[in-house]
Amino acid sequence: MATLQLKHITKSFGETDVIKGVDLEVKDREFVVFVGPSGCGKSTLMRMIAGLESATSGDILIDGQRMNEVGPADRGLAMVFQSYALYPHMTVEDNMGFSMRLAGVPKEKRREKVLEAARILELEPLLDRKPKALSGGQRQRVAIGRAIVRKPSIFLFDEPLSNLDAALRVQMRIELARLHEELDATMIYVTHDQIEAMTMADKIVVLQGGEIEQVGSPMELYHHPRNRFVAGFIGSPKMNFLPVEVVEADAKGVSVTLPGGGVSKVAVDSQGQRAGDALELGIRPEHLVLDDDQGPLTGEIQVLERLGGQTSLYVQMDDLMVTIMADGDVTHRVHDKVRFGFAPGRAHLFDAEGLALPSLEQHPLAGLRRQDSRASDAVGQ
């Protein structure tokens, strides 16, 4: 049971500022995912929480206690490394029991605890093997087992799935979510993969250039990105961005001219917008709808990717390339001219600084936390 607070954390390596003032609060038993492009500082931030790296300034509080000067082992944390970092010269059992061996726990007791963790992870038949005799997925499990054995109050995962193949990654993702429920611990997870972030997180922290861009539930980030970066980073395929011009701004939203001449109204806060202002319209590929009669946007299909259930259309609009996620059964062919549009509630508008104009209506799912969908938790709360 643990909470974590970061208070204006900064980190500089010589002249370079890697983390530029991060404030964050992680609640007890929350699954928090740090996500961002490589070099955004997410791993450094985690290493500072772990105690493997010192913060240049700011406070790290675990359960309200300042931990900056406390060694990694005494913070009550366990970390799973991207490379697994198993001890290659020890068996699985010794790997998992190493922390207890260092702490002077008697052999019998050690074995008991290792077996307990091995049972959770189905590692029992592998206890006598060395890491090199294990598959990637098994190594990953041992690394997690080594963390579980320590009964930490906070688990730290540093891109733990990035060395696994796609199928195994999906499986481990589910397993980690299950583990989170079973262990009832706070978990912090670093990844560059937004799908991992979306599927596992209670709370996502989007980082870029050493700063937090937005903190929120997956649905909140998806439906209400605070800025253009978050909008483009969350969601796959990426959000489309079209240059638009304000025609009219009133209490019901902002009307903009679309490329190709059409006008569309977006339900966002129109405060400060005047006719003639240049904005950017953001619309997700899955929210663009083919509409051969009335679609305000037109273009020519350049590439067509059929995935079976869905079809991705890459459509050229003058000098813009737009992605449309359409139904799997669309009959269009490459070089067809198509018309398409979108529901006004689905679009986002970004100002010149890349900040999103706030939506007038909150998406009904934006406040949903992953735990809310779990029956056991609902009863407990």
């Binding site: 493997l52 490394f81 970092a85 190493f98």
Partner: protein, 294 residues
């Protein structure tokens, strides 16, 4: 290449295995490299071979017209053994070579650890500076060291030799260990730290077992260098602490015939380290290629 391809494309009868000019050139190259390799090997080995042969000759044969045909005799070995006790010198060599290696490793492991895992701006410079001390001719510091040893009573003692050899090999030992440690994945040590290992436990339980091949080959090199060292042993020892290199030198004399005896003594001096090197060569090669085949 082009002609070969046109031929096969045109459908003409092409031999099943066609040797392209490229393969020929490669074979040629390999042949010459093999010849060159053997030549160098023979050139290096020949003096040792000749020394061993000479050890089995009589003194007159030894200075006669060089010949491979002679009746081998153990005469020189007997005389060498009679004149000076081999065992005493050999024991000195063993104690000094292994003692200095052990001491060098004890000092170098923490030094290399800090350089590899906690580098500063000056780490590279320090390493270079350490190596640069090996570029000075040892004779340059002979007089000060001799005087220091005389005043501290270290002349002709094993302790004295161990100290000198340790200092002599330390730069190379630190440098080698540094490269081995640098190859060690940092994650593993960090995982250990997360598991609660102190720095000492980190070194003992994780670093040393995982870099053992590297440490072993470094140690072997240090043993060999100390074993074969002659300059300091000749100048700082006389009888009590004299190792095998001094033993060899004692058979060279300004007058009379001594080549056969000298050769016999040399053969006896290098035999143990040769056997030692032979037995550990697998470990050596593994150590020297440690980084490449993790």
């Amino acid at each position: 290449m082009t002609t070969a391809r046109t031929k096969s494309l045109s459908g003409a009868a092409v031999p099943a295995v066609q040797r392209s000019p490229l393969t020929d050139a490669l074979l040629n190259r390999r042949l010459w490299l093999t010849v060159l390799g053997w030549t160098v090997a023979v050139l290096i080995f020949f003096p040792i071979f000749w020394m061993v042969l000479t050890g089995f000759k009589t003194e007159t044969e030894a200075i006669a017209e060089p010949s491979l045909i002679f009746s081998p005799t153990l005469e020189s070995y007997a005389e060498v053994q009679q004149r000076a006790g081999y065992a005493k010198f050999a024991l000195n060599s063993v104690v000094v070579a292994f003692g200095s290696t052990l001491l060098a490793l004890l000092i170098a492991i923490p030094a290399a650890y800090s350089m590899a895992f906690l580098p500063t701006k000056r780490t590279k410079g320090t390493l270079l500076w350490m190596l640069s001390t090996k570029m000075l001719p040892p004779v340059g510091v002979l007089v000060p060291i001799y005087l220091l040893f005389r005043d501290t009573g270290l002349l002709d003692t094993r302790t004295g030799l161990i100290i000198v050899y340790t200092l002599m090999n330390l730069p190379i030992v630190v440098w080698m260990l540094y490269t081995f440690f640098k190859d060690m994945p940092k994650d593993i040590l960090e995982a250990g730290r997360m598991d609660g290992a102190s720095t000492l436990q980190e070194v003992l339980y994780l670093l040393l077992p995982l870099t053992l091949p590297g440490i072993a080959s470094t140690g072997l090199l240090s043993v060999i260098l100390s074993w074969n060292e002659a300059f300091w042993s000749l100048n700082l020892t006389s009888s009590n602490a004299a190792p095998l290199t001094a033993y060899i030198a004692s058979f060279s004399s300004p007058e009379g015939l001594f080549w056969a005896k000298l050769s016999a003594a040399s053969t006896m001096a290098i035999a143990p380290i040769l056997v030692f090197g032979w037995l550990t060569q697998k470990q050596m090669v593994r150590g020297l290629t440690f980084g490449a085949v993790k």
